[in-house]
Structures are given as structure tokens and as C-alpha cells.
Point group: C2
Chain length 390, copies 2
């Protein structure tokens, strides 16, 4: 186990009706805020009315910025920063899923500097301050509601890049599983896959003696495997949604990577696919992960076998642990398919013709290696994308 | 799952050498503090010197109060409160195990009021403020390093009572597994049992649909079962100690009871035993838990069977789940015994003659019921203590 420092200050308000507390939570930070969301679904569902009623009751004024899309765009972030500066707003309130929250985090960092917030995403300097962020989560998936991360897409070249900073932990996040009832099945499947991916990125590590967190990660993965089919069959099952939603938060709030170093190559590769083809992040991960695993599993057969046995209930075969590992990968792929997701580029309607371009972009023209479990160069990324092709 | 609010602000600094940061962490709150500890072991181990060197380097002055005993006493808390008020100290720095930290928490609450801090332990009023607390943990067991709890013994009648308040979450806790290397085997066994008890108190709940946290609790229990024998055989095994120490913190930092209501009757019963006989808390829990389980398991055979199967690897017998549950209890008892602990009062040298008195004290003369899984009156407590007798 490696040394670590862990502190997650996000206050979680979880359960039915919890969005009614958004006014008082917001008011404890600022009385004039940016209300940031996506499309009209929060209006048709009545959530918008409940939130603005709560804000009014607490004496909070707001300026609105709607229009966040999946794979949130830098151009809207710039708009948000302008609004915050012009109106002297004191908190960014994100109502939506990971895209809205990631966009809010970018605005929170950009609103307190004179320079360009995109520089942080390019690794030029680190944020030194950020406005406080609050969230009302409607889609369990990205885990952004209690994480240090934000991913933004720059339409100028379709570059998708991430920033991690403790400054952008939301101050509070409101999680009411009922708000997810109306999600389309495809989006549920993508969300579950994203959560599973966050757990697997952490699980596959070269750090030894991480037994406790291995088991915690396995516990979260098994929860997903049990609860996802219930939610897909019964979209109004509060209890199953509650399990999924809380798992999604804990999967990415940095607790489960204490003492270890995650891999994150699959996320980077997926960012190239969704950056170009604008497919959902979770849908891309369901394609990348099986291919990545097939490419790397021989690097640590034992770890893959442990995962296959404990998470996927594969029987141990002491004479052929490699086969045990492969069976785990197969069962994971079957799980993704059982939720209606494609696990090959071709099945998602993506041909292989831009594979070389994606491998090149992911590695900045083969000048950058990434992935901690097995570091990947351009050639390795290309091989993984070819394994994912069809 | 029940609605909940969760926020744990404690900053954890985990790993080798982390105590060298105690000065800078302390200085960010106060430059004049109370240094609170137990006996001379932190001096003979060199820990005292490293901590005071770090405090000096950060420009922090301190007043010392040593002498905390297991089952920490109210009289020493009063001394600490006096010292803090006389010297205008701004933080309580606890160096030791749960007893020292619990004592520090009592001082932190008592130092900011004119009245008697014991009133909080009697349930007369709630704390409204507390001085900040920092800890350097030397014994993985109580989980007090990241919890809201403190348990103090009033020597005037040997009453042992608890307070829970979010105000007494330590601001920072330093966890270096090496500091536990020198613990006697008996104390290790007591610590492991205390951690296991914190997990089991949470596990046995009447709240339904708590699947994710069930699995997380099981993950922590299985970690203990795997790592405790290693630590007992190899006291200098850093990796195994690290797993135990981190499990001990997570077991009691309130994450694992989100959405559920724990039982806590066994803790209350144990407090009566250790209040009278002054045995170690963990030693008392190893005696109370098997008896409590034998008394209550028929209340929810399924939950006990799940626990037996997942935690203790008992094979499911669909035709006799009751037997599965009983086998789980047997295996837990065998685990406690394998660490050298007594699981009956008689084996710990305690006769049954004061059982009626203990049952009466625990229930305030049969006026109070306690325990959420199965509420217990005096008669029930007496039956449990008789099951624990020999």
C-alpha cells in the first residue's frame, strides 16, 4: 500500500425529497448563483420548479445557463464564466448529470482567473482557487458529484481533456434516486458502465498489498451487477436505484483508490472515440474495456483471476488461471451486452478507418505514453482499438 | 434504504513517516495546544520526540496532559478542561488509541462551556461547539480517529456513557501503521474484535434494501479475517498492519452506516461489563457478541445466513438456513478464540454473580430499552449475559 492523504469534504444529502434542501444549502455559500443545467427535461419533470421554489424560499437569486450537452463543450463554459463575472455570482449550482457538473466545475475555476481556463486542461498550470459548487444529481454515472475531476471537450479540434483538483469537490451534492426514474434504458446502461469503469480503472493496479480496497471495489462491482438488471426491468424501483446511485458516488469519490494507483488508459482511449464520434462516454467504455483487458491481462494473471473469481463468480482453476482471467473478461462483456450495449466499434456503427488517427491523438503523435498498469504507446493503443474493431 | 446526510471532514494522512506532518497540520489551527497521551510508551518508542520536534519546527507550543487509561476517566477530562481554559489552548492533540482520542474529544467539548461536560454524556443537552481535535493514532481499534463518538467512564459509580456529535470529528488524523508494531498480541486481538464489532453493529439492521453497504461491510469483515492472523504472526508486517489500520478507520467513520440503522446493543452491554470489571473493551465484545447473536438470530434468519455465507464462507443450505446462521456464529466465535480471546465471562475470570446488577444498570433499572435490531429490556439483557456466562 502506498502512502496517501485523503479528505473528501462533499456533504451528501441522499434520498427522497432531498432537493427541497437546495435553497438552504446554497444560501450558506452565496445568495446569488449560476443555475446551470442541460435541456428541458428538468422543466418537464417539475424538478426545475421545485429547485427554484427552494432557492426563492431561501432568498437566493440566480442567473441561468442551460444547454449543456453530453461531452460538455468549452464554448458554453466560456459563456458561463462571462455570466458569473458580469453578475458577480458566488456559487455554481449544477442540476443534471456528470456533463452539467463537469461544466460547472470548469466555470468555477475559470471565473476566478483572468486567463483561459482551458490552459488547466492542457496541463499549463494548476488552479489556485475556484468558486464553490453545489449539485443536484439526476444521472448516476460520472461520479462528478463528489469527485475532483472535470472533463471538457474543446470543439476546436474535438479535444477532450481532464483536470483534477481538490478545489472542485462540490460543497454539497443532493442525490434523490427518484430523479433518475425517467432515464432512457440506453442512458442507464451507459451510466452503469461508467461506474463499473471507474471501479475497474482503480482495481487494475501494480501496487501490491491493497487487499482492503480490492474487496471494497469488488463489493461495489457486485452491487452494480445485481442492481442494474432490476433498474432496467423496473425503472421506478426506488431501492435498486438508490443502490446504483450511491455506488456511483462512492466509485469515484477517491476513497476506493486510497493507497493505490489506478490505470485510466481506457478512459483516455474512450475520450478519443467520443471526442470524434460524439458517442456516450459509457457506450465507448463498454467497447474499450474488453479490448484493453485482452491486451493487458497477461501482465498480471493473478489480479485478473482474483477479479474473475470474486466479481464474476468464475470457479478457480489452479491449473489454468489464465483461462479463469479470460472467463472473467467474457462475463463482463456479456454483462455489458445484456444491458443492450455494443462491445465492438462496428456494432456501434463506427468503422476502423480513423483508428490510426485516434491512436495518434491519444498519444499526442506518439510522444506521450499513458496508463499506469501497462503504459501504452501509439502502437499499443492501435492494437487495442483493432481488438475493439469488430 | 433510509434517507441520510453524510459528510466526514477528517483529513487522513496515512503511511510511513506521516507523523512528521503533525506540526504543520496542528499549526493550521492553533499555535498553542494540549498534547494529550497515555503512558510512557510513546516516549520509549521515540514517537514523543518526533512529534514534539515537528511541533517545535512549526512554531507550536504545547501543554501536556498524560495518564489516559483504557476506559478513559472523567476526572482526567476535568483536568484537561482546566488546563485548556487556564492556558487558552486552541486544539487538543491526541497521541494514542481510542481512549486518548475519546478523552481529547470530551476535553474539546468541555473547554468551550461553563457547565459540566458530563451532562452531554447523560443526554442533558447537546454540544454546540468544540475545540478542534487532531490525532496521531497508535492503536487500530476504536475508530475514534475519524468518528463522531466518544465514550467516557465516570468513576463515581463506574458509569460508562457515550456522546455522538459531528462537532468532534477530528480535523486531521495521522495513521502510520508502523506505530502499531509494538502492540502486545492481546491488545491486537482486542482491537481487531472492536473493529469487527463496529462492522457487525452496523450490519445487523432492520432496514431493508441496503445491499451496497451490506457488501462494503462484508468486504471490511473479510479483510479483518484475512489480515489479523498475519499481524499476530508477524507483528512487523507493515502491509498487513496497513490493511487493519485503514479498515479500523473506515469501519467507524459513518460511511458504512449510510442509509441504515445499526443495533449497538452489544456495545451497551459490554460497557456494563468493562465499567464494572475494567476489562478491555474488545475483550468484552468477544464475550458479548456470540451471546447476543444466539439470543437474536431468529429475528432475521436471512440476514444471519447471508452474513454466514458471505463473511464466513459457510455453504448455503436452502433446506436449513437456520443452521447456516448458527454456523456463522460458531465460526465468528472460533475466530475470536483463535486470537487468544475468551468468549465466555468465566474464561475471562468473571463470575455470574453481578449479572442482575449489570442488566439493571444497562437498562437504568429496567426503565430503558436499547438495541435497534431487537430492542432489549432488563430480562433480555440478563438472558444474554447468562448465555455469555460459561
Amino acid at each position: 500500500m502506498e502512502n496517501f492523504v485523503y479528505q473528501n469534504p462533499t456533504k451528501i444529502l441522499f434520498g427522497r425529497g432531498m432537493e427541497e434542501h437546495v435553497g438552504e444549502e446554497t444560501a450558506s455559500y452565496s445568495k446569488k448563483v449560476l443555475l446551470h443545467y442541460g435541456g428541458g427535461s428538468i422543466k418537464s419533470s417539475g424538478l426545475y420548479d421545485r429547485i427554484t421554489a427552494s432557492l426563492k424560499k431561501a432568498g437566493v437569486e440566480w442567473v441561468e445557463l442551460a444547454g449543456v450537452k453530453p461531452n460538455p463543450r468549452l464554448s458554453l463554459v466560456y459563456e458561463g464564466i462571462k455570466l458569473v463575472k458580469e453578475n458577480n455570482l458566488g456559487l455554481i449550482l449544477a442540476v443534471g448529470g456528470g456533463s452539467v457538473i463537469d461544466s460547472a466545475k470548469a466555470i468555477a475555476m475559470g471565473a476566478v482567473i483572468d486567463g483561459d481556463v482551458w490552459d488547466f486542461y492542457l496541463g499549463k498550470g494548476e488552479p489556485k482557487a475556484a468558486l464553490p459548487i453545489g449539485t443536484v444529481l439526476t444521472i448516476p454515472a460520472a461520479g462528478s458529484e463528489a469527485s475532483t475531476g472535470t472533463v471538457i471537450t474543446n470543439e476546436d479540434g474535438w479535444f477532450k481533456r481532464a483536470v483534477n483538483s481538490e478545489l472542485i469537490y462540490p460543497r454539497f451534492s443532493i442525490l434523490n434516486p427518484e430523479l433518475a426514474f425517467s432515464l432512457p434504458k440506453f442512458q442507464v446502461a451507459c451510466g452503469v458502465t461508467d461506474i463499473m469503469a471507474h471501479l475497474m480503472e482503480r482495481y487494475f493496479t501494480n501496487v501490491t498489498h491493497v487487499a482492503f480496497m480490492d474487496r471494497m471495489l469488488e463489493a461495489a462491482m457486485k452491487t452494480l451487477i445485481c442492481q442494474a438488471p432490476i433498474v432496467l426491468e423496473e425503472p421506478h424501483n426506488y431501492d435498486a436505484w438508490a443502490e446504483l446511485m450511491w455506488t456511483g458516488t462512492i466509485a469515484h469519490n477517491n476513497l476506493l483508490n486510497t493507497g493505490r494507483v489506478g490505470d485510466w488508459a481506457s478512459h483516455d482511449i474512450e475520450h478519443e472515440i467520443s471526442g470524434i464520434y460524439d458517442i456516450a462516454h459509457g457506450a465507448g467504455l463498454a467497447i474499450v474495456f474488453p479490448a484493453w483487458m485482452k491486451y493487458v491481462y497477461k501482465h498480471d494473471i493473478n489480479r485478473f483471476a482474483q477479479w474473475a473469481i470474486r466479481v464474476w463468480n468464475v470457479d478457480m482453476d489452479v491449473f489454468d488461471p489464465e483461462r479463469v482471467a479470460r472467463l472473467g473478461i467474457e462475463r463482463m462483456e456479456a454483462f455489458f451486452r445484456s444491458m443492450g450495449l455494443a462491445t465492438r466499434l462496428a456494432d456501434a456503427g463506427i468503422t476502423g478507418e480513423r483508428i490510426d488517427e485516434m491512436a495518434s491523438k491519444a498519444t499526442d503523435g506518439n510522444t506521450r505514453r499513458f496508463g499506469n498498469f501497462v503504459p501504452l504507446d501509439k502502437d499499443a493503443v492501435k492494437k487495442i482499438l483493432l481488438l475493439a474493431e469488430k
